[in-house]
C-alpha cells in the first residue's frame, strides 16, 4: 500500500461511504487475523462490531473490492456497498471519528518528539503510515510534517 494522497477527500454531507460486511470461518484463525489487520491498516472504522466503513474513493473502493475477493478465497462471504448517510449530522460525526483517530496518532508522534532520544526514523515511518489513513487531510498532520522536517537536524535551510 503506497501513497494515498489522491484519496484525501473533503467530507461534505453527501459524501459516499463504502461499507464492508463479511463473515469468515472461525478456523484457521490466521485468516481472520489477516483480514482484520488489513482493515486496520486501511484505516477502516468498525461500526457497532458489524460494519467496516471508509470514505468512498476510487482507491478505497478498489481496496475493499480486493479484500472481498480475498475473503471469498478464504471460504468466507463479503458484501460491499457504497452508500450515503440519511440522518442529519451523522456524516459529520463519522468524518470526525476518522479524523479523531488519525489525530490521536499524530499527537503521539508530537509527544514522542519531545523526548531527548526521539527516534526520528521510526517516527517518520509512523507519520507515513498514519498519513496513508488520513482521508480528510488533518491540519495536525501538516503540523507534524513540519515538525519532523525541522527536527531532522544538520543545516537549517
Amino acid at each position: 500500500m503506497a501513497s494515498k494522497e489522491r484519496d484525501c477527500v473533503e467530507q461534505p454531507q453527501d459524501t459516499p461511504w463504502v461499507l464492508l460486511v463479511y463473515k469468515i470461518p472461525r478456523e484457521p484463525t490466521s485468516s481472520r487475523a489477516t483480514i482484520w489487520r488489513k482493515l486496520k491498516r486501511l484505516g477502516a472504522l468498525l461500526l457497532h462490531d458489524a460494519v467496516w466503513v471508509l470514505p468512498s474513493t476510487p482507491w478505497t473502493r478498489e481496496q475493499f473490492q480486493w479484500l472481498a475477493v480475498e475473503i471469498g478465497e478464504l471460504e468466507g462471504e463479503a458484501y460491499l456497498w457504497e452508500s450515503r448517510l440519511l440522518l442529519n449530522g451523522q456524516a459529520d460525526t463519522l468524518a470526525q471519528q476518522f479524523q479523531a483517530r488519525v489525530d490521536a496518532i499524530y499527537q503521539e508522534i508530537l509527544n514522542e518528539m519531545e523526548r531527548e532520544d526521539a527516534d526520528l526514523v521510526a517516527l517518520s515511518r509512523k507519520y507515513q503510515q498514519v498519513r496513508a489513513q488520513d482521508y480528510s487531510h488533518s491540519a495536525l498532520g501538516i503540523h507534524v510534517r513540519e515538525r519532523l522536517m525541522s527536527a531532522r537536524g544538520g543545516f537549517v535551510s
Binding site: 500500500m1 480486493w66 475477493v69
Partner: protein, 141 residues
C-alpha cells in the same frame, strides 16, 4: 491475441501490460472497458478484473498471479512482483521502498497520458528501467 481490462490503469496493470508485451505476446492488443462492464469481450483474455483467472489471488496483485500462471521464475521479476504487491495491495511487511514511488509514478503517467493505451505504452519504459535496476543489484531471496 487480445487482452481486456478495466479502464484507468495503474501500477499493477502497467506491470501486467509490460509483462504481456515483453514475455508473453509481443503482438498483444489491449482493450479497455469501463469498471464493472459486462459481458467481457469474447475471445479476449481478461486481467486484473475480480473473479477472473489473471487477477488478485490470496492477497497478491495480478502481476504476481501472472508470474505464477505463466511459470515465470526469473528472480528479478519476482522482486518486481513484490514491489507491485506493496504498491497495489495492503501489506503488513514492506520490503521494497521503490513500491511507493512506483505507484505514484504510474498514477502520474496515467494522468499525463491521453488514454489507457498510451499509458500502458509509456509504462513499459518505467518497468524496463525497474527491471534493469533490480537486475543490477545482488539477487534478494
Amino acid at each position: 491475441m487480445k487482452w481486456v481490462t478495466w479502464e484507468q490503469v495503474g501500477v499493477d496493470r502497467m506491470a501486467c501490460g509490460w509483462l504481456i508485451m515483453k514475455y508473453l505476446d509481443p503482438q498483444a492488443e489491449f482493450l479497455f472497458v469501463p469498471v464493472g462492464y459486462k459481458p467481457l469481450t469474447e475471445g479476449a483474455e481478461p486481467f486484473d478484473i475480480p473473479g477472473v483467472r489473471l487477477s488478485h489471488h490470496r492477497g497478491h496483485c495480478t502481476f504476481y498471479t501472472m508470474l505464477r500462471e505463466y511459470d515465470l521464475h526469473d528472480p528479478v521479476l519476482q522482486r518486481i512482483a513484490r514491489a507491485v504487491d506493496e504498491a497495489d495491495t495492503v501489506q503488513d511487511v514492506m520490503l521494497e521502498p521503490a513500491a511507493t514511488g512506483l505507484d505514484v509514478l504510474c498514477q502520474g503517467l496515467r494522468l499525463i497520458s491521453p488514454d489507457d493505451q498510451v499509458a500502458l505504452e509509456r509504462g513499459r519504459l518505467l518497468y524496463d528501467a525497474l527491471y534493469a535496476q533490480f537486475a543490477s543489484e545482488p539477487t534478494q531471496g
